[in-house]
């Protein structure tokens, strides 16, 4: 049913809308029904009741009409000229100063001069933004995204003019396509495009490190190449480039810029330690350099082991040596270099000529001087140095000690040529061993023994052969006995005894160590005071238990020795942190069984060598603690987390804080791209300094839709109907004797 709009003097081009909510209408209906009921029961006689109620119905319908709030809505439109849309680049590159004037200021001056006050203005960087006072700090300019947003915003509407003001340093797909393919796919703009180029290519001075490529990780002791790209505005310029690692100079080179103002050079770096390191490449900052921040670039390189390099030196082929070599040789993650003394000076007069032998000279000098640093682990297995090192002994033993203190790992295994019998007492090597030498009396004890697991040994990853502590102890109790031990004067200071002798004691009454470990300097050492650990493999196999005990013991030992077994770790959320933003680090603390440790207080020291930040935290139930802080300065920062009350329980990581703005990686304006964009859209390109009014499409119009609302609920007819019929109803009811 159509609404009889003509009754109210309205056109038929409209629709009826109700302004009251459905709740109010329901209340009104309920009230009307109640009123009808009252009127019915309040009248006497059927005739009067029918008349009274019949008269009341129109009055109540009028009341309902008024409550429902009917409105007659009529639509209409009118044609007006199309819009002019202005897009101004608000990215950081617009803050650069060219010829004494900031690019952004030049854009605003141009905007004023064009008289575009009525235009709809927007800012853009990585996206289209509402107009506000520009601050020239946006990043990642993407003109394509901005134009697409304009098109979507005014979909179906012809624009009179689209004006773009930018320096052309676009980091989106439009310019990328133009740079790689030399052409541009014409973007749909929605109106004639006028591009004002803000800035000129030749008017800015800047030399920068464009890029440093490392691959992100490197292998220890394997050279990796760091490729550096330097760009500048002066072809032929000779730019000194410095590579440093956390403040220490690594290398210097010179880059000569080619005709395009670019140069690429390579640094070859050979890391000697595993871990994470920050390398910084820098070039000098000239007096007129537009962006000093881009003269430095920091990269974090993770140095990993591809294979563990192990040197095994053995004083005599033996069963102990045989089984250890089998284990080391079978592990593809180990690069094993073995030297076994097959013949000593005492064996020489045995009737065989040298030409009959396949022996080679023992290259001890090279091994313990220039080659030493190339090993992750050195195993001296029942090796007596004296017959070989001779007059170089002090120097070579000193090298071994320095190697350990500097981060290397050393294992000394017992036998009749080892420890005191190898004459190591009082040498530099003793200083890094976990046991004290210089035993008075018998240096060995030949009684077969089953070593006892100490409290430290029950927790330590080396002697934790089974996950369950009870089962682990049971395994050590039943494992094959050793054929005696090398005696010592007890554990060295700071050493941990993992397995001890069941009966022999040192001078202080403590059980003699059988297996002991020690962290000294940056390195680690282990002593196995016997030559019978091979039985943990072969005798176990005889019992049908396989050789897992021996494999686990040695694999655990190798991992601990080279520092891969770390129960405390610290990781950064990002390798590179923008200056002024928060750096986030996550520390993890676990026990020797690698279970998370909760409620452990830790301290964090973050330093760049100049400033130092001190933070504290406590681990949660997951064993993790999170730190968030804002480094005050750009550069390489190293963070060290120390577990309170646990000496040596610490971890560290590095990260680079950079004040480089990605938007300023490139600073020279690119009018070529803007010209290509204008051409691709049949638009107008206006170079810096030129005067031109924007292109306009005079035919572009837009329709403005009007809405005319006529309220129907307040028509004078409504109260008239209500009063007339309600009065009639009342009168009839009273005449009938009703109340």
């Amino acid at each position: 049913m159509t609404f009889p709009s003509s009754l109210f003097g309205l056109t038929e081009n409209g629709v009826l809308e109700w302004t009251a909510t459905s709740e109010w209408i329901l209340v009104a209906v309920a009230l009307a029904v109640f009123t009808l009921g009252v009127s019915w029961w309040g009248s006497r006689g059927v005739r009067h009741r029918v008349a009274s109620v019949g008269l009341l119905v129109p009055a109540l319908l009028a009341m309902l009409w008024a409550v429902a709030g009917p409105v007659w809505v009529e639509g209409s439109g009118r044609e007006v000229p199309g819009r002019t849309v202005v897009l101004v680049d608000n990215s950081a590159s617009m803050s650069l100063v060219e010829d004494g004037q900031q690019r952004g200021e030049a854009a605003l001056e141009l905007l004023d001069s064009l008289g575009l006050e009525q235009a709809e203005r927007f800012l853009f960087d990585s996206e289209l933004k509402a107009w506000t006072t520009p601050d020239w700090t946006g990043g990642e300019t993407d003109l394509g995204v901005a134009l697409r947003a304009v098109r979507e915003r005014y979909a179906g509407e012809k624009l009179r003019s689209v004006v773009v003001m930018t320096d052309g340093i676009d980091r989106g797909s439009l310019r990328e396509q133009w740079m790689t393919e030399g052409t541009l796919t014409s973007p749909t703009v929605g109106g004639p495009l006028t591009v004002y180029s803000i800035g000129e290519q030749a008017l800015i001075e800047d030399t920068a490190i464009r890029e440093v490529r490392t691959g992100g990780f490197a292998f220890i002791r394997a050279p990796f190449t760091m490729t550096v790209t330097v760009v500048g505005d002066q072809a032929g310029a000779d730019v000194p480039v410095t590579l440093s690692r956390e403040g220490r100079l690594v290398a210097r080179k010179r880059a000569v810029l080619d005709e395009q103002g670019s140069a690429e050079l390579e640094f070859e770096v050979t890391p000697t330690r595993a871990g994470r390191f920050t390398y910084e490449v820098s070039i000098p900052v000239g007096p007129n350099d537009a962006v000093p921040a881009n003269n430095t670039e920091s990269v974090v390189v993770r140095v990993v082991r591809d294979r563990m390099r192990v040197l095994q030196v053995c004083g005599s082929p033996s069963l102990d040596q045989k089984f250890l070599r089998l284990l080391l040789k079978q592990d593809p993650a180990i690069d094993l270099v073995s030297f076994f003394i097959l013949r000593t000076e005492r064996d020489i007069p045995s009737g065989y000529g040298t030409e009959e032998l396949s022996l080679i000279a023992f290259p001890y000098e090279r091994l313990f001087t220039e080659d030493l640093e190339s090993f992750d682990l050195v195993i001296l297995q029942n090796f007596d140095y004296a017959p070989y090192f001779r007059w170089s002994a002090d120097a070579l033993l000193g090298n071994i000690a320095d190697y350990v203190k500097g981060g290397g790992s050393l294992v000394m295994i017992g036998g009749d040529r080892s420890f005191d019998l190898g004459e190591y007492a009082g040498t530099p090597v003793e200083e890094v061993l976990p046991v004290k030498l210089g035993v008075q009396g018998e240096a060995i004890d030949l009684e077969p023994i089953s070593p006892v697991v100490t409290e430290a040994g029950s927790r330590h990853p080396i002697t934790r052969l089974l996950p369950d502590a009870t089962e682990n102890l049971a395994l050590w109790e039943r494992i094959a006995p050793l054929d005696g031990i090398n005696r010592s004067r007890g554990a060295a200071s700071g050493a941990a005894v993992l397995l001890e002798h069941p009966s022999l004691k040192d001078a202080q009454g403590r059980a003699l160590p059988v297996v002991a470990v020690r962290a000294i300097g940056a390195g680690r050492s282990m002593a196995i005071m016997g030559d019978g650990s091979w039985r943990w493999s072969f005798t176990e196999a005889a019992r049908g238990m396989g050789n897992q005990a021996y494999l686990r013991f040695w694999k655990n030992a190798l991992r601990w020795l080279v520092g891969e077994e770390s129960r405390v770790t610290l990781e950064g959320a990002m390798d590179n942190v923008r200056l002024g933003t928060a750096a986030r680090l996550i520390g993890r603390v676990r026990d020797v069984g690698f279970d998370a440790q909760a409620d452990v207080p830790v301290s964090l020291v973050v330093t760049d060598g100049t400033d130092k930040l001190n933070l504290e935290g406590t681990t949660g139930v997951d064993g993790e603690v999170r730190f968030e802080f804002t480094p005050p300065r750009a550069g390489a920062w190293r963070a060290t987390m120390q577990v309170e009350g646990q000496r040596g329980a610490k971890a560290e990581t590095v990260f680079a804080v950079t004040n480089r703005d990605p938007e300023l990686e490139e600073v020279r304006a690119d009018p070529g791209f803007l010209q290509a964009l204008a051409q691709a859209t049949d638009g107008l390109f206006v170079a810096m300094g030129e005067q031109a009014t924007p292109l306009e499409d005079a035919t572009a119009t837009r329709k403005i839709a009007d809405r005319n609302e006529t309220p129907l609920w307040n028509h004078p007819f409504i109260p008239l109907v209500m009063a007339l019929f309600a009065s009639g109803s009342w009168w009839v009811r009273r005449r009938g004797g009703g109340r």
């Binding site: 045989k322 040789k329 045995s350 080679i360």
Partner: protein
């Protein structure tokens, strides 16, 4: 560097009887020293303890290896076999069938690092021992087979540079073996190696070596030492540092 008691004793040992006696040693217990287990079956095997005594004595004299110059006869299913990572099986006739338990243990012994030298004392091409031993190998390692050991194998350069595996006889110019991974835990000699090493009770050689006589016996001793050294050091002499050096000096190709 101090002049220790041990070095004094070493000099004394060399000066007085260095060529006649094994040098003094404080190896950690006699049980830690190297010896040889001779496998003993109900028939088809024989024991030559004097051959091992002679070989291990030569080993001590010539190399830095600490050994106990003796052997012990054990059944292949004896758990004590695992106290002796080097074993020998000297055959003189067809081997009796070995129990499954013995085969399983012997296989485990070899897989976990044990070494077995097998010597056919007949020196004949149609020996009954040979056939039965090959059958045993098929039970020990069904997926492997005995194959000739190449002349550039570590066995020929672990201590001495050798050209041929000579024993009491010079019938076969090669050794055979079963290789697991990079090691060869079973080495089979058909030239009666232990026959060349064996002595009679009066100390004289038990048999003449043919055709090379004493020179051949000397080569046999060198082969025996190389085999023991191989059992201890496996492919050590294949390490690059050694190969390059020996090639540089023109001692190997």
């Amino acid at each position: 560097m101090s002049f220790t008691r041990r070095r004094l004793l070493e000099f004394a040992a060399l000066g007085v009887g260095g060529l006649a006696f094994p040098r003094l040693s404080w190896a950690l217990g006699e049980s830690a020293k190297l010896d040889v287990a001779e496998l003993k079956l109900a028939s088809g095997t024989l024991q030559r303890p004097r051959a091992w005594e002679r070989l291990l004595f030569e080993l001590i004299q010539t190399t830095s290896v600490e050994a106990r110059p003796e052997s012990v006869a054990l059944a292949p299913d004896d758990l004590a076999l695992f106290d002796h990572p080097i074993a020998a099986l000297i055959g003189n006739g067809p081997l009796p069938p070995m129990s499954d338990a013995a085969v399983e243990q012997l296989s485990r012994y070899l897989q976990y690092g044990g070494f077995l030298l097998v010597d056919d004392s007949s020196g004949l091409s149609d020996s009954a021992f040979d056939e039965s031993f090959r059958a045993l190998c098929r039970r020990l390692f069904p997926a492997k087979s005995l194959s000739p050991i190449s002349s550039d194998h570590s066995i020929y350069r672990t201590f001495f540079l050798l050209d041929a595996p000579l024993g009491r006889v010079d019938t076969y110019p090669y050794l055979e073996g079963i290789t697991l991974g990079e090691t060869t835990p079973i080495v089979y000699c058909r030239n009666d190696l232990t026959g060349a090493l064996d002595r009679r009770e009066d100390g004289l050689d038990a048999a003449n070596c043919v055709p090379g006589g004493e020179w051949q016996r000397r080569e046999s001793i060198k082969l025996g030492i190389n085999l023991i050294m191989y059992a201890l050091t496996s492919n050590y002499k294949k390490d690059l540092a050694h190969v390059r050096r020996l090639q540089m000096e023109g001692r190997i190709e």
